[in-house]
C-alpha cells in the first residue's frame, strides 16, 4: 500500500484503534485534514479553541483509559494547546498531540506560523518528536502511542512539518504491531523481596494507613486495591486524583487527605506508624510541611516511576512496578503468610479514627438563605446517584466541594485537573467524556470564573449534540482566591470579584442550549431533576450560591496535618495536636 504522509497519519490513527481526534485546522495541517475528509474511521471533533481540544482528549483519556488524540496546526495552534498538554502531563494522562510544523526547508527561518514546538513543549511532555522524513512517520506515531500509554503515562507531541505530509510523495506503508526501544523499558513487576518486606511491616503495624492516588486509577488496580483493604481491614484515604479507586461509601474509607482533606484522614496521617502509599506522589497539597509529615511512620511506596519515590519524602520500602501487578503479588504474599493483621490492635486504631470522625468535619448548615455550595453538590449526588454518572470539574472552591461531597464509588468517574489546576478544564473535558459514553450522564461542576475560560466550547457541544449538564456554582467571586485573601490578606479582595458577569441563562440559550437560573434552596432539587430529565439537551444551570462560603477543613500551605482550620461553626479555630 503506497500512501502519502498525510494518509499515513490518518491510517496510523486508524490502525492504532483511534476513534476520535479533537482538533482545529490551519495551514500546516491542511494535507492531513484533506486525508481526514475521505474516510470515516477516525472521527474528527472540531473544537472552538485548541485548549478545548486538548482538554477534551484528556477527559476522554481519563474516562476510558485510552490515549486521547489531538490535531492542531503550527504556531498559534500549537501554543494554544500547551496549557492542555501541561495539564495532562501533571496528572500523567496518556495523550498524543499531532502538531503541524512549517516545511522542513524553512524550519529555523522564522517562517509564517513557525514556533519551536518541540522546544516549547519539552518540559511538559513525556516525550516529543520532530518527524523530518515521511519514512519515519509511521514508526514515530507508533512510538508516540506506546510511550504515552505505558509506564507512567503522559502526553507525547509529534511535530510534523508540512512537506512530510505532501500528498504527491507516496511511500509504502507499514504500521508496526510492536515497537522496541532500547532506551525505554518501563518496569512491570515489583521486586518480590521488597513486597515481602512491605507485608511484614504491614503486619507489624499498630496504626496503619493506606494512602492511594491517581496511579491506582491509571493502572486499573481498583479491584486489587479493594481486595487489599478488605483483606487487611486497614483504613484508606485517597488523594484528589485517587477518588473513586475505592468506594467512598465503604466504612473503611476515611475521606480525602491533604489541604482540604477530612479531619479523620489528616489526623490518621499524623499518627500512623506504617503508611502504605500506592500510586501517589506526595504532592505538597497532600504532605503540607514535610517536617511534620507522618512524623511517626515507616513508609512503603508503590509507584511505577522510580523518580516519584523518595522525591520529597524519604521512604523506607520502595517498590517500583505497575500497581496492579504489585498489589496482586502483595495479596498473594499476604494470604500465604503465617500471620494475619492483628485485629485487637486494629480495633483500637479504628476506635481512635471513629472518634475523629465524630467531629463531622464537613458538616455545614443550609438554612433557608442562600444556597450553600455543599448543599448544591449533595443534592446533585442525590439526583444522579443511580445513574451512570461522570463528573468533571473546573478549578476552585467548587472543585473541592465536589471532591468532598460527591462520594465516588467507581474509578474514572471523577475527572479534574489536580496537578496543574487548570481553570477552563471542566467543560471541554466533559465533551470528551460524553463523546466516549454517549448514553452516560455527564455533568461539569464549575465556577463563574472558570467556565468563562473555555465557554466557547458550548458551540462544540451544540454541533455534536453533547447533552452535558453544566452545574455552575456561581458565588460571584474567584472563591478560592477570595478565601485565601480572607485568611491571609486581611480580607483585601484584590481583583477576585468577578464583575460584569454575563447572563448565563441567556448565554446558554444563545448557543442553542437550555439555560436555568436557580437561587432558592427549595427549588434546587426540582431544577436538577428537570435538567437531568432532558436527556438530549445541554442544560446550563446557573446556581447562585452563598458568596462567603469557605472550604473547610483547610491546612495552610507549609503547615502540618494536625494544624487544620475547621469550619467556624465546629469549634473556635483550634489547633489540634
Amino acid at each position: 500500500m503506497e500512501l502519502s504522509g498525510a494518509e499515513i497519519v490518518v491510517q496510523a490513527l486508524k490502525d492504532e484503534g483511534v476513534e476520535y481526534v479533537w482538533g482545529y485546522p490551519g495551514g500546516a495541517v491542511l494535507h492531513i485534514y484533506d486525508a481526514l475528509f475521505n474516510q470515516e474511521h477516525v472521527r474528527h471533533i472540531l473544537v472552538r479553541h485548541e485548549q478545548g481540544a486538548t482538554h477534551a482528549a484528556d477527559g476522554y483519556a481519563r474516562a476510558t483509559g485510552k490515549v486521547g488524540v489531538v490535531l492542531v496546526t503550527s504556531g498559534p495552534g500549537a501554543t494554544n494547546a500547551v496549557t492542555g498538554i501541561a495539564t495532562a502531563y501533571m496528572d500523567s494522562i496518556p495523550m498524543v498531540i499531532l502538531t503541524g510544523q512549517v516545511p522542513t526547508p524553512v524550519i529555523g527561518s522564522d517562517a509564517f506560523q513557525e514556533v519551536d514546538t518541540v522546544g516549547i513543549t519539552r518540559p511538559c511532555v513525556k516525550h516529543n518528536f520532530l518527524v523530518k522524513r515521511v519514512e519515519d512517520l509511521a514508526d514515530t506515531i507508533k512510538k508516540a502511542f506506546y510511550i504515552a500509554a505505558s509506564g507512567r503515562p503522559g502526553p507525547v507531541v509529534v511535530d510534523i512539518p508540512k512537506d512530510v505530509t505532501d500528498p504527491n510523495i507516496r511511500i509504502p506503508y507499514h504500521y508496526p504491531d510492536k515497537i522496541e526501544m532500547r532506551s525505554y523499558n518501563p518496569v512491570e513487576k515489583g521486586h518480590l523481596g521488597q513486597i515481602r518486606k512491605a507485608v511484614d511491616m504491614m503486619l507489624d503495624a499498630e496504626r496503619p494507613v493506606v494512602y492511594t492516588g491517581g496511579g491506582v486509577i491509571l493502572g486499573e488496580a481498583s479491584e486489587q486495591l479493594t481486595e487489599l483493604i478488605r483483606t487487611t481491614g486497614f483504613p484508606i484515604t485517597n488523594t484528589l486524583m485517587g477518588l473513586g479507586s475505592f468506594p467512598a461509601s465503604d466504612p473503611q474509607f476515611i475521606g480525602m487527605l491533604g489541604m482540604h482533606g477530612t479531619y479523620e484522614a489528616n489526623m490518621a496521617m499524623h499518627e500512623t506508624d506504617v503508611l502504605i502509599a500506592i500510586g501517589a506522589r506526595f504532592d505538597d497539597r497532600v504532605t503540607g510541611k514535610i517536617a511534620h509529615f507522618c512524623p511517626n511512620a515507616k513508609i512503603i511506596h508503590i509507584d511505577v516511576d522510580p523518580a516519584s519515590i523518595s522525591k520529597t519524602v524519604r521512604v523506607d520500602v520502595p517498590i517500583v512496578g505497575q500497581v496492579r501487578s504489585v498489589l496482586h503479588d502483595m495479596l498473594r504474599v499476604l494470604k500465604e503468610h503465617t500471620r494475619k493483621p492483628d485485629s485487637a490492635r486494629l480495633k483500637t486504631w479504628w476506635e481512635r479514627i471513629n472518634g475523629w470522625r465524630k467531629m463531622d468535619c464537613l458538616s455545614y448548615e443550609q438554612g433557608g438563605g442562600a444556597i450553600k455550595p455543599q448543599y448544591a453538590v449533595e443534592t446533585l449526588h442525590k439526583v444522579t446517584r443511580d445513574s451512570d454518572f461522570y463528573l468533571t470539574s473546573d478549578v476552585g472552591q467548587h472543585q473541592m466541594f465536589a471532591a468532598q461531597f460527591y462520594p465516588f464509588e467507581k474509578p474514572r468517574r471523577w475527572i479534574n485537573s489536580g496537578g496543574l489546576g487548570t481553570m477552563g478544564f471542566g467543560l471541554p473535558a466533559a465533551m470528551g467524556v460524553q463523546q466516549a459514553f454517549p448514553d452516560a450522564v455527564v455533568a461539569c461542576v464549575t465556577g463563574e470564573a472558570s467556565i468563562q475560560m473555555c465557554i466557547q466550547e458550548l458551540a462544540t457541544c451544540k454541533q455534536y449534540n453533547l447533552p452535558i449538564k453544566v452545574v455552575l456554582l456561581n458565588n460571584g467571586y474567584m472563591g478560592m482566591v477570595r478565601q485565601w485573601q480572607e485568611f491571609f490578606y486581611d480580607g483585601r479582595y484584590s481583583h477576585s470579584y468577578v464583575d460584569a458577569l454575563p447572563n448565563f441563562k441567556m448565554l446558554a440559550e444563545s448557543f442553542g442550549h437550555v439555560g436555568m437560573r436557580i437561587d432558592n434552596p427549595a427549588d434546587l432539587e426540582g431544577a436538577y431533576r428537570e435538567a437531568f430529565a432532558m436527556k438530549d439537551r445541554l442544560v446550563f444551570m446557573d446556581i447562585i450560591v452563598d458568596p462567603s462560603e469557605n472550604v473547610y477543613p483547610m491546612i495552610e500551605a507549609g503547615k502540618g496535618h494536625h494544624e487544620m482550620h475547621l469550619s467556624p461553626h465546629l469549634s473556635s479555630d483550634r489547633e489540634l495536636a
Binding site: 518541540v118 518540559p123 523518580a307
Partner: protein, 163 residues
C-alpha cells in the same frame, strides 16, 4: 558532594537539550557537561559534573534515566574511576618569559602547540586540580585566554558503560 555522571544517550537532535533543560527546570547544579558521539554512531556519551546531597543526586540520576533518549548511565563517583580534562591556555610569551613558561609547561607535562612572536598556546591534560594548579602558577597578567573541556570520566578496572 561532587559527582561525575556518564550517560549514554541516543544520538538524536534534541537529546542534549533534554538533559540541559532537565537541569535548569529542576534547579540542579551543573558544573560541566561534555558530549560527543561514540564508536557506535547511534549513541552519544555525555559526561556531566554536578553537586548535591545524596537525595538530590538520587533524583538527578532517576530523572536522567526517565528521559526517553537516555539509554544508560553510571554515577562514576560511586566507584574507582579516572578523570581527565583537556585545557588549552594561551599566554603572553615575550622573549624574557619564554624559558620560564616552557619549563612550567614541562613540569606539568603540557606541550606548546602554537607559537607566535608574543604568545604560546599550551595544551595540557589532567584532572581538574592539576589544571587549576597550572593556572595558579602562571602569572595572571600573562594569561590571554583559557579553554577547558570539562572532565571526562571512565571507571577503573573491568566496569564499563556500554550497551
Amino acid at each position: 558532594m561532587r559527582h561525575i555522571i556518564s550517560v549514554l544517550l541516543e544520538n538524536e537532535a534534541g537529546a542534549l537539550s533534554r538533559v540541559a533543560g532537565l537541569f535548569s527546570a529542576r534547579g540542579y547544579n551543573i558544573e560541566s557537561l561534555t558530549v560527543a558521539p561514540t564508536e557506535d554512531a547511534t549513541l552519544s556519551r555525555m559526561t556531566l559534573v554536578t553537586t548535591g546531597d545524596e537525595a538530590i543526586i538520587e533524583q538527578i540520576t532517576k530523572q536522567l534515566n526517565k528521559l526517553v533518549d537516555v539509554v544508560k548511565l553510571v554515577d562514576l563517583s560511586e566507584g574507582a574511576h579516572i578523570e581527565r580534562e583537556i585545557m588549552m591556555i594561551k599566554v603572553r610569551a615575550d622573549q624574557a618569559m619564554r624559558d620560564e613558561l616552557k619549563r612550567l609547561a614541562d613540569i606539568f607535562r603540557g606541550s606548546i602547540i602554537d607559537v607566535t612572536d608574543v604568545s604560546y598556546t599550551i595544551e595540557m591534560t589532567g584532572d581538574g586540580h592539576k589544571l587549576d594548579a597550572f593556572i595558579r602558577v602562571v602569572d595572571p597578567e600573562l594569561i590571554i585566554e583559557t579553554v577547558r573541556s570539562g572532565p571526562l570520566g571512565i571507571a577503573r578496572g573491568g566496569r564499563r558503560l556500554t550497551l
